[in-house]
Symmetry: C2
Subunit: 89 residues, 2 copies
DNA sequence: TCTCTATTTAGATGTTTATCTAAATATCTA
DNA sequence: TAGATATTTAGATAAACATCTAAATAGAGA
């Protein structure tokens, strides 16, 4: 849970996650969407990967990133459990 | 979303949130559950409050904290939307 | 093999964060 | 009103973090 919420605690990383909802993307394609240096984006991708929110695979010269829905599900469940256990829900 | 994920990016605050699932608690009761100074817990409560994850109400000498389920719901929806939009779900 | 492109690693810097102690504020009760 | 309890505010410090530039690594293609 620690690495998960740490990964989510950044607007850039949340936006990357939302971009990967639609389609898999290479590191370069992702970086092109931001006004941030490629090394910084690479670092963000690494943090998302540590949290297992995304996975990566080399595709020739490129590295292709994909969202990992099972961890997103686990996170959603964390919230839903709080709601279920609260009296007011 | 910023203040929300910032608030959740701390194990102490997540534990406070889980404690408040079961029942409302005073600041002192909450602090008693941790090996952390009361001012530090007060600071954590403030951050949870800024994120609107909890609310507070004075009860005489005490201040009683309660979980705010609507914001937890919003957070859960953030994750569920990612799942809905992803192809693999 | 040489060079170009894609990506990551290393090292540095300024900012944010979690924590502490000491002091301030608010309420209760004698 | 004085003293005790509950909680927050203020100010300080060390650790974590986002970002940058420069350099390293890995594969593609001539």
């Amino acid at each position: 849970m620690n690495t998960l919420f740490k990964a989510l605690n950044d607007a850039t990383r949340r936006r990357i996650l939302q971009m990967l909802q639609d389609k898999d993307m290479t590191a370069g394609e992702i970086a092109d969407q931001f006004d941030i240096s490629k090394p910084s984006i690479s670092h963000h991708l690494d943090i998302l990967k540590q949290a297992k929110l995304i996975s990566s695979e080399r595709d020739g010269q490129f590295i292709r990133y994909a969202i990992n829905t099972t961890v997103v599900e686990e996170a959603a469940n964390w919230f839903l459990e709080i709601l279920n256990k609260s009296d007011s829900s």
